[in-house]
Each structure stands twice: as C-alpha cells, then as structure tokens.
Symmetry: none
Subunit: 261 residues, 2 copies
C-alpha cells in the first residue's frame, strides 16, 4: 500500500522542508514525491536535509499545477488548518491512514495522494476542493501550524502504522506486560538509582557480582525492576532486604545469633 501513496507538496518555499519531507517519507517506506511549482528546487538545502533520502529527491516529479500532480489518483487527501469556510469530510491523521488502507483494500492499483500546502498559507480553498477528504492534525489550537516536514512525518507515520498492523507486522519487539500500576505512587528516578546502587553494592558484598567481570548483570536486573514499575513503598521494602543482606555479608547475623544462643 505504501508505494501507492504519493506525497504532493504545493508551492513549497523552503527547499530544506522538501528534503525533510523526503527523509520522513523514506523513513516510513514511501517513495513517490511530487513537487508542484516549488520556489527553489533543486537546492543544496533539500539535499542536506534529506540526509540520505537522495533517491526520493532524484525521482521526485516536478510539475506546474496541482492538477498534474494528482493525475491518476483515486483518492486525494489534503491537509487543512482548522477553520475552513467550506465544510468538508475532515479526518484526523489516524482516520486518514485508515482511509488509505480501505482504498488499497478495495483496489490494489488505486493511487492515493496526500497533499500538503504552503508553509505559511497552506492550501487554497480551490486546492482543498480538489481533495475528497481534508486531514487536520489535532494540534493545540493556540499554536497549530506544524513544520511541513514534521506534518509529512506524522501522516506517513500513521500510514506505516496502519500498514504494519494490517499486515500483522510487529510495530515493536515483544514486551512483557507491566503490572501493578494501581495503588501507591511510583518511585522517583532518584530513589530507583539509589536502589540500584544499593543493589550493586550488596551484590558485590555477597560476591555475586565481580566488578571486574560485570557480565551485564546490572543491566539485566534493571530490566527486571524497570518492567515492574516499582512503587515507593516497594523500593523501601527492597532496600530493607538489601540492608539486611549487607548485614549478613558482614557477619552481623551470625554474630547476633551467637549472642542470642
């Protein structure tokens, strides 16, 4: 599906944004970039911001009109600011990705366009009317204008997520579910670090950990406790155990027993 989605940038002012968009596309597995009447292109800034996505730039089509950019497309989705005069079917980025997926499911040959407007002015109303759907990224209404390349990143990220989920590819490596979130407050970072220092010291004292050959032991232990999302009270319990363990390592337990016996 991803190769059926073309990214169309209309009248881009800053070539750096074209490069940034190309990089974002390549990160997410998209290939087809169409530039409608870019202000400065080709340009060094585009290549440097592409940071290795040069193939996307080299294969980019430069056209004069949005009309040409949309040739052959069955579904056109245009990004839009919030308050448009003309009411239109409006999707958030996740819904837009679903729409791409449904289009692909209905017809594997259908071409899809994601259209992005000018840095400061977006798409004109006439351009938005060429789009069947408008996409709004739900930004803070007080500060809602995203950088062009990051807007491309968000939309192509959602398209990739939809594709990975549809094809049952993992979006991450398996994790073990964190448990026990309810109840008391979670431990702070500092208290956890003090705990890990205490744990390490204790393991050295009981000769379980050889500081000369640590063998990732602390990393493994951090993983274990990290997953369990320790609470403050639990850290206290564990440190109590460590303190007692240290006493045992120092022979205090034996001594105490000796005194009592």
């Amino acid at each position: 599906m991803l190769e059926k989605i073309r990214v169309v940038l209309v009248n881009t002012s800053h070539p750096g944004n074209i490069g940034g968009a190309a990089r974002a596309m390549k990160n997410m597995g998209l290939k087809s970039l169409v530039l409608v009447d870019p202000k400065k292109y080709p340009h060094q800034d585009a290549s440097s911001r592409a940071a290795g996505a040069d193939d996307i730039l080299e294969n980019a089509q430069v056209v004069a009109t949005l009309e040409e950019a949309l040739a052959g497309c069955s579904v056109v989705l245009g990004t839009s600011a919030r308050d448009r005069r003309i009411p239109w079917p409006l999707l958030d980025p996740r819904e837009a990705a679903d729409r791409c997926l449904h289009t692909w499911q209905a017809d594997h040959t259908a071409e899809i366009a994601l259209v992005f407007g000018r840095e400061y002015a977006g798409l004109t109303n006439a351009e938005l009317q060429r789009c069947q759907y408008h996409i709004h990224i739900p930004a803070d209404p007080e500060f809602s204008s995203l950088n062009l390349a990051t807007a491309v990143q968000v939309l192509t990220y959602e398209a990739r997520m939809a594709w990975l989920k549809y094809t049952e590819q993992p979006t991450h490596m398996p994790e073990i579910e964190a448990t026990g979130m309810l109840g008391t407050a979670p431990a702070t970072h500092e208290s956890l670090e003090l705990f890990y220092q205490h744990l390490q010291q204790t393991l050295i004292e009981i000769d379980f950990l050889d500081p000369a050959k640590p063998r990732h032991l602390m990393a493994r232990l951090r993983r274990i406790f990290g997953r369990s999302q320790l609470k403050k009270s639990e850290v206290n319990i564990l440190r109590g155990i460590l303190t007692e363990t240290q006493k045992a390592a120092r022979g205090e337990i034996i001594q105490r027993r000796g005194e009592h016996v």
Copy 2:
C-alpha cells in the same frame, strides 16, 4: 497529563533541531524542555526553527548530565534504534503514549520523561539503562534514522492523541460544526418543501417522472438532499438550475438559440 511530560534532548549537535523540537512540543501542547549538554545553545538556528515556540526555548532547562535532567521523574522512556544488545521493554510510540497516560492515571503528580539521543549516535547503552522503557519508532529498517525534531513530533503527537481520546476531546472537528462555521443558515423546512415541489414539477416537465407511476422517486431524492443538509444559499442555486431546466423543457433555450443564429 501533557504538562507532566518533559522532553529531554541529550547532547544535541544542531541547534536547529532544538528549535524544531520546541515547535513540535508546542504544537502538541507540551511545555517542558530539558537540554543535556547541548553542543551549541543558545543559537540563532534554534530560535528560527522554533517559529514562535520561543517560550519553550526561554523556559528550557540546560543541565550537564542526564541524571539532572531526570530529577523527580517516575517514568523514563528513551528512544532507541531497533537492535540493542540488551533486550528491554520496547514500546512503539502509541504504546509509549498509553504508558504515559497510565502513569498519569495512577498518580497525577508523577513526572514523565521522553528522552532523545544524539542525532547520529542516539543514546548510549548506559543512558538507555536509566530508562524503564525504550521506544522504537517503527521506521523502515533500511532507513530508520529519523530527524530529531520529527521524532519528537511523532512521540508528542501520540501523547496528544492519547490525551484527547482519554478526555473525550475531538481529534478533528465534526463535520456539522464545520457546516455551522459557514455562517449561512440552514434551509428552512418551508423552503425545502418548495424546492421539492419545484424539483418534482421539473422532473415531470422533462418526462423523467410519471405522476401516474411515481415509483418512490421523490422519496429517494428527498433522502439524498436530506443527508446533505442544504443551506438557504444552496437551495437557491438548485432552484435556479430547476428554473433553467424548465425553460429548456419549454423549448425556450432552443428558441433563444434560434434568435441568435
């Protein structure tokens, strides 16, 4: 919840990326930025890429170590490339946002950190071990390194989406609301009925509708126009079309052409 999430950038090389990250954060409603030993900061490039998110930069904390940046944090999530030697609980950005939300639900005062590494080298293993969770953005394995600011955009976007959904705020503007923003009033019942009468009459005049055998045609048309929630101005347009159609049916168009020939 969003104000409890701090974005921590470790050892950033390009000040432009700091500005881009600040803009992305502000777009998504986050405020707290912490810079660990940035290479060049403050810097003009940071301010220009911030594009109005100057308050985020002004309030950014600059610290010497990751340790200081994480002070007071209960949950630390670090971005990571895929292939790390030590397996760790790994989340995709959506799951990371859920983890932030669950943390907040368990304790509204808990501080959360999203940690981003160097542009070329990411976070070191030692730094990743300070994180309870690693976040992997599921990029194309062939080209998996995102720009720092766009990575911040993806994670903060997911955090905002999670928050909007949790608080039942819309992630996009409902279509009906959009219609209302036009300012023009919806058509009244009376004007709609006059329109339907006009439509019916016109269909009879062009021999499309046989009054003796109506076959639910008008009901079907009413359903179509009913769904579109016509406005007054639109009804006027449609009635103008009907009037011209009636003229055509009466032969006035032909006559007029005849006069001109």
